[in-house]
């Protein structure tokens, strides 16, 4: 074991320099040079200040906006978390029933499954197109707009599964809400 002491220590040091400093710093340099927006968190700025990241959900309370999926951590992007409640959890079943009642009272439409369940990250930036379309009449009423105009903004925002095979169709909540603001006065 003692004969291995010198290689163990010197190679640990070597790999710390190589894989722990040189590699991540080189990747930082390359990523910043090649795609700095993505490498800095895909931030969306307005008048020079960040209003959020297109990849990170933020809460929306106003009736004129699409609402994101539920977050067990309150859309805290510095301390993420999920409910982690099991499939037979009475607490989970009660939470879901409560969310369903609230969604249906607010929107007057049946709630799709993604509207009543909390996401894995607590920061899911997307909702399903069905979820988004169920919110159209409420948004249109809050904006005094034609529901068809709201629907058009949402339909233009739908992203399809990769190659038609992988993933579910999604609507990005923050980007779509900004598109609604741009298209229709609040």
């Amino acid at each position: 074991m003692l004969t291995h002491l010198r290689p163990a220590l010197s190679l640990t040091l070597l790999f710390t320099l190589l894989t722990g400093l040189a590699y991540p710093l080189a990747m930082t340099g390359a990523a910043q040079a090649l795609f700095s927006d993505a490498a800095n968190g895909s931030l969306i700025e307005r008048d020079g200040t960040a209003i959020g990241s297109s990849l990170i959900a933020q809460g929306f309370a106003g009736a004129g906006y699409l609402q994101p999926r539920a977050s067990a951590s309150g859309w805290n992007a510095a301390g993420t978390g999920a409910s982690n409640l099991g499939p037979t959890s009475a607490a989970l079943i009660a939470q879901v029933a409560e969310r369903r009642a609230a969604f249906e009272a607010l929107n007057g439409a049946p709630a799709p499954i993604d509207a009543v369940t909390a996401s894995g990250s607590g920061l899911d930036p997307h909702i399903s197109p069905e979820n988004a379309l169920a919110q159209v009449s409420r948004i249109a009423a809050a904006r005094n707009a034609d529901p068809a105009a709201v629907r058009a903004v949402i339909e233009a925002a739908v992203e399809r599964p990769l190659l038609g095979l992988y993933g579910l169709p999604v609507v990005n909540v923050l980007r779509t809400n900004l598109a609604l603001d741009a298209a229709l006065a609040l």
């Binding site: 002491l5 070597l14 930082t28 490498a39 931030l43 099991g86 499954i113």
Partner: protein, 557 residues
């Protein structure tokens, strides 16, 4: 459509792994350009190593232990002192002793169990110079050990298994590092942050303030997947949109989790000089994988009627849905990776059970980089022995006799799984200060304990996340079972290799039991299921199976 999607994925995976295996054989044989050989020789000589000197199984094992001990000491120190060290823009303090012990063991043993939350408890320096380094070298250790063990089975009669320092350096420099660079840049392009800037404070559309943590994530996530490490940069791991922003990033990471473990099957066939031997191991693992995937996919897509119509979306991300979450969950638990893109705690009871079984059988369905192959070789020794008993001949594998020493050592290594999971889990289920970790009442609570100890012993690292892993009892106990799950398998397997390589190789005769056909694959699958899965069936009946039965009867807890 589902079949096309899975078919394309598996075709891509097998093709890439097949090609990588050829490259890996060149690397481990040292058939490299002279410039690369000069670099590795110079670095090794600088560290006082003569790369030409072979090591016996014991020497190899001691080198592994010395290297991992040095890594542990450095990482532990770094975590304790991070508050006073640079590259800490968010001002994060030092870690407590028990949590730093747990984290250091976790990353050195390639488990990457996370009892902490990265964005809240680790400085950028700890993430980079601490965790990323162990992501590389713990994977490199597993690969080196696997190559040494395979040499014991296939190399001509001799005494030495190779040089650990050389094998480990080649794994890191010429396999893990180049692949990580490619993957890191792809992930950064997809939206995974790679920045030294601290968290950004955004003022939301409705005026609320949101602090958005970021950091040098892409580089670490690349090696976390390729090295079957699995420790996330952020607390919610690959479900976090910054770790895994798109379906493309998800597929690339999911492929990366299985890439090197699958390559090891083909590398084994190449090193054995009989590729059919590699295909037989691959077929065994693939059949078990597809069977597990089928269950998880079916249950997650069918969803939870107690929550409403549709897929089981609690704890899942909308961009992935049930299918990509099922594929990931099966891959990450089969491959001893442990990264998650959906919360396993909220999976349906029997999907959760499949992920547990994949860990409990010892992470041998592709398994950890290198570790999966030598774990499966453990079952091969036992399967060949059982076949020998059945036909009344001395068992042989690849021309060498399997005798009582090898079988004893294999059983010893096998026992580390029930020791860590059943003994560790039983204590955790009875001691009050350990029981406080359980979140869900009813049978799901037992599943949470079982999952944790299966994950730690299997060196997987994923969790039923509602369970309170940060309790000092568990940070310590899980640290111990992680060590058992790693070294109580590595050392006996190296000893088997050291014993095999001393035996003469006999030519196959008409009486030799062939180890490459469907009969052997069937026998090997049965050995894995009977020995591995049945050991844990009684406790699984009290956890996930009881939960499923209760669920079907409309009961909640």
């Amino acid at each position: 459509m589902t079949f096309i999607a899975y078919g394309l994925y598996f075709a891509a995976l097998t093709g890439l792994a097949w090609a990588l295996a050829a490259a890996m054989q060149r690397v481990f044989d040292g058939r490299l350009p002279s410039g690369m050989l000069r670099v590795e020789t110079a670095l090794l000589r600088g560290a006082g190593v003569d790369p030409a000197r072979g090591m016996t199984w014991l020497g190899y094992g001691m080198a592994v232990l010395a290297f991992n001990l040095a890594g542990f000491v450095l990482l532990y120190t770094l975590l304790r002192l991070q508050g006073a060290l640079p590259l800490n823009p968010d001002g994060i303090g030092g870690m407590s002793a028990d949590l730093a012990f747990n984290t250091a063991v976790s990353f050195v043993t390639n488990t990457n169990w996370q009892a902490y939350s990265g964005e809240a408890q680790l400085s950028y320096l700890s993430q980079m110079a601490g965790l990323t380094v162990q992501n590389f070298v713990s994977a490199g250790t597993g690969m080196a050990v696997a190559v040494a063990i395979v040499r014991g089975f296939v190399a001509p009669k001799g005494t030495t298994l190779g040089n650990f320092w050389l094998d480990m350096m080649r794994s890191v420099l010429w396999i893990l590092l180049p692949l990580s660079i490619v993957l890191a840049l792809f992930l950064a392009a997809q939206g995974v942050p790679q920045t030294l800037l601290g968290a950004v404070t955004a003022t939301g559309v409705e005026g609320g303030e949101q602090i958005i943590a970021r950091g040098p994530a892409a580089a670490q996530i690349a090696i976390k997947q390729l090295g079957t490490n699995g420790g996330g940069f952020f607390g919610v791991n690959s479900a976090h949109p910054f770790e895994n922003p798109t379906v493309a990033s998800n597929l690339a990471q999911c492929l990366s989790i299985l890439l090197i473990p699958v390559s090891f099957c083909f590398l084994f066939g190449r090193m054995a000089g009989d590729r059919r031997q590699g295909w037989a191991i691959f077929a065994t693992m693939a059949i078990l994988f597809v069977a597990g995937l089928g269950v998880v996919h079916a249950y997650e897509v069918a969803g939870n009627p107690a929550l409403g119509l549709g897929e089981n979306m609690e704890g899942k991300e909308q961009r992935f849905g049930a299918m990509l979450s099922a594929l990931w969950a099966t891959s990450t638990t089969a491959a001893s990776n442990g990264a998650v893109n959906a919360m396993h705690d909220s999976f349906m009871p029997l999907s959760g059970m499949v992920t547990m079984v994949l860990m409990q059988i010892g992470e041998v369905v592709f398994g950890g980089v290198g570790a999966g192959l030598y774990g499966m070789l453990l079952y091969v020794v036992l399967a060949v022995f059982l076949a020998g008993l059945m036909v009344g001949r001395t068992p042989e594998y690849l021309g060498r006799k399997i005798e009582s020493r090898e079988v004893t050592l294999a059983v010893l290594a096998f026992l580390s799984m029930p020791l860590g999971i059943l003994v560790g889990g039983a204590i955790a289920a009875t001691v009050p200060q350990a029981l406080a970790a359980v979140q869900d009442p009813g049978p799901h609570g037992l599943s949470e304990i079982l999952y944790a100890y299966s994950s730690a012993t299997g060196n997987n690292g994923s969790a039923f996340g509602g369970w309170g892993a940060a309790l000092p009892w568990h940070t310590t106990a899980l640290g111990v079972v992680m060590l058992i799950g790693r070294y109580a398998i590595i050392l006996p397997m190296l000893a088997i290799a050291g014993s095999m390589i001393r035996k003469p190789k006999a030519a196959a005769t008409s009486g030799t039991f062939p180890t490459h056909g469907p009969l052997f694959v069937t026998l090997l699958i049965l050995t894995v299921l009977i020995l591995g899965a049945l050991t844990f069936f009684p406790v699984l009946a009290l956890g996930p199976i009881a939960e499923e039965t209760a669920r079907l009867a409309g009961q909640s807890f």
